[in-house]
Symmetry: C3
Subunit: 341 residues, 3 copies
């Protein structure tokens, strides 16, 4: 059961309804009219809850679960405890997500402009926006319909934010043009000067940073992540990207559509990622590189060369995955053989 | 001498008093009634200051110090310059901490609710709380006695914070239940959505994040650290944990009691640390792992497998320490032998 | 063309004027009176724009550019497309920076103290300061002439900031003394308690952190970077340092003049960097080390030993660059030879 201080639940639903919502099929013998009131993790779900099994690490939790129903891949259905209702799906996690959205529809927490927000009179606000207390909306900012600007966020002069966006508390946005349905979590800093200067033995000369940050539609950006604006070109975050917490994106970087950057990734200046690149946690990509579509970069890897489309690279410096594991293996064997000598 | 713009000092104390406070013994020939007015580092301490020697790297600074007194391990007492008073302790750093607390007792900087704080009328405030200007306390928040909420911190709806806590400036707290005596430094973002979505070739589907962050008593959390709330289970930070700056803790992670996470550590989703695990700076732990009690993870290590209790692992991928150093050694030797060829 | 929502341009200038501003010479046949209205990247510059070529990766973009003029090293002048005006410089990037400053002089966005700022009556404000809405200036803070404090920044009691500084939105400053011409970008947290405690099996005892952060003149600090105050000594950032986003600097660290720390670097307690040290992205330096003047630390490196002046080290653990590449090479060769076996 979710904590009612934080979550408001819809429902209940029958299993037949949930199967339809989740795009799955009822398992053999599953009562279509069983009433389900909530989603819950396997270990905690009770007779009126629905849970899901996705990661095979949790099969034993599934076998021991007292959930009233569970979403599961057909291949694992026979491991279900007796009496558990089943919704069968080739993509149980996706089905769960759809069902969880039904129980917990995303609705804005409140709306209207707080009298304790500071909104410059030149700002243009869309319909049904929510501007919370302490938010600062500066000159010539534009905010689209139904967008929520959380407490103590700052939108600096000229910033544009589209419709249906969520800008978290203590976020700083400057020199940025943001599309629709963009989520930016608390504390992210977006649009500040890139790290541009000319090094010299007597001191470093700052280079004016004259580009913007352009964030396309349907992007999620994690807490305390930083995205610098371009030096001349723009820094661009493509449609549908998912960026985790504490990620660093330098000036002029371009991300294609649907890229996934796990926490603490760093991307140096002017590097370009094509569509659907995935970078594991704490990995880094040096500047001025091209990473091909669908490439995958292992956690903690350090990429120093272009990566072709579809390739998986690992290690620091990063090499193709097979080569990396071969290197790891050969060093392990040598250490076992000679290491003690 | 500390900067009086920032620190207010108690005292003076005699060496006899300080020996008692610190749980140490006066060295031979040390004048029990010597008056000490402050603590100071070895290189800067004068005749009325007390310093300490803990890290043996600083023995020469100890030998050259003009401190009126010093806390030192009995084994090093004979290296003291003549005339220096000594407090002998098997744990000089602990004794120093106790004595420094006597000179600089932690007291709240001020109290009361600032007229420039924004406190929702439904919030429940304990006795003697301090809510600074610009802080935003939203609907149904509960704050315990003597807790300080610093300027421009945001406590989003429903958040609970216990007694004797310190919530730093520009902190964002949401979906969180916080115990007593918890310190959260400036800019930390706690409780936002975990990085949960179903990847797909046409786009990524967000998965509702329905858990909380639960922080137990006596925890310290560093500046700009991020802790995501659980996806269904809670994210839990155990009693007495110490978390440094810029650490990332993903959804569903559980830390046992007394864990220590050095700066820029990242822990992926659903991983569980038992009590008193120590993770070095910039290390990462992948998801769904179990790290046993008292395990130690080297700086910059990348942990990809469960770690048994008490084991020290290093490297990326992390292996037991002895194996790691053997691998490093064998590669060094080979590079010397064949590398130039 | 820059986005007029964000940037205000000076000019136009003739090429003769720009050559003088940039300290370069007009190329042969370049019309001294050609009128230039803006700077722009090579791929986007038109007949009235000036661009620059610095990184040889972009020679083909130079050859294809339609820029009215370009700043270029004399060695590459012969690759210019016909009709392009040239400013020749041995340091094209420096010349570009000077010229870009002419088109986009740094001017404060606005000035005066916003009625929505919260300024304690004991604070001392210099002439022509700008304090934006939501900024909180606490007891006994001092702010120098022409300094800008951005919206929702917090300067905690006693903080001193010099003249001509820029303190970004949502920055937290405490226990800090800041010089002149210092830029601190959004969300940085500076001066909070260092990570100091005595570990013990029953719990960890906090050690009072009694030093400050001292930031000398002409320093730039990136977004969401964290700098802890000293434990007794001060944490010191030397004149002219450039610190990128999400960098962690622990208590008692000292940086000499002109150090450059790229994003996500971490420096552990009490380590001292001499002048003009450069640390690549995501590198880490363990505690109590000395890094000599002009040393260079590779990206993602882990430094565990002192580094002599002028040396370049790479790897984790870091070794001299030549040794590192030799190690990488020998492992690659072995993996190719034996890896498949």
């Amino acid at each position: 059961m979710t904590d009612s201080r934080f979550f408001r639940r819809a429902g209940p639903f029958t299993l037949a309804q949930l199967a339809e919502i989740g795009g799955g099929a009822l398992g053999e013998g599953t009562p279509a009219d069983r009433r389900i009131v909530d989603v819950a993790p396997l270990y905690r779900a009770g007779a009126e809850d629905i849970s899901f099994l996705d990661n095979r690490k949790y099969v034993s939790a599934f076998e021991a679960s007292t959930a009233g129903a569970c979403i599961v891949h057909p291949d694992l259905a026979d491991k279900a405890p007796s009496g558990m209702g089943l919704i069968l799906s080739a993509e149980p996690y996706r089905a769960y997500a759809l069902i969880a959205h039904a129980f917990y529809p995303q609705t804005m927490e409140r709306s209207g402009v707080s009298p304790h927000a500071m909104v410059d009179p030149t700002a243009k606000l869309g319909a049904d926006v929510c501007i919370e207390p302490g938010a600062v909306i500066m000159e010539n900012v534009e905010i689209g319909d139904r967008t929520q600007i959380c407490a103590n966020a700052v939108l600096r002069p000229g910033v544009v934010v589209g419709a249906d966006c969520y800008i978290g508390s203590n976020v700083t946005l400057c020199y940025a043009v943001v599309g629709n349905k963009v989520w930016i979590h608390g504390g992210a800093a977006i649009g500040q000067d890139g790290f541009g200067f000319v090094m010299g033995p007597k001191g470093h000369l700052k280079v004016p940073q004259l580009g913007r940050v352009v964030i396309q539609d349907d992007v999620e950006i994690g807490a305390n992540t930083t995205i610098d604006r371009g030096a001349g070109p723009d820094t661009v975050i493509g449609e549908g990207c998912r960026i985790d917490n504490l990620v660093q994106i330098a000036h002029n970087v371009e991300l294609g559509r649907g890229c996934v950057l796990v926490a603490q990734v760093g991307i140096s200046g002017s590097t370009k990622l094509s569509d659907f690149v995935v970078a594991g946690g704490q990995s880094g990509i040096t500047g001025h590189l091209k990473i091909g579509a669908g490439a995958r970069i292992g956690a903690q890897s350090g990429v120093m060369r272009d990566v072709p489309a579809g390739q998986t690279v690992i290690g620091s410096p990063a090499v193709p995955a097979k080569e990396h594991w071969r290197q790891i293996g050969v060093v392990e064997r040598l250490a076992k053989k000679h290491g003690g000598a």
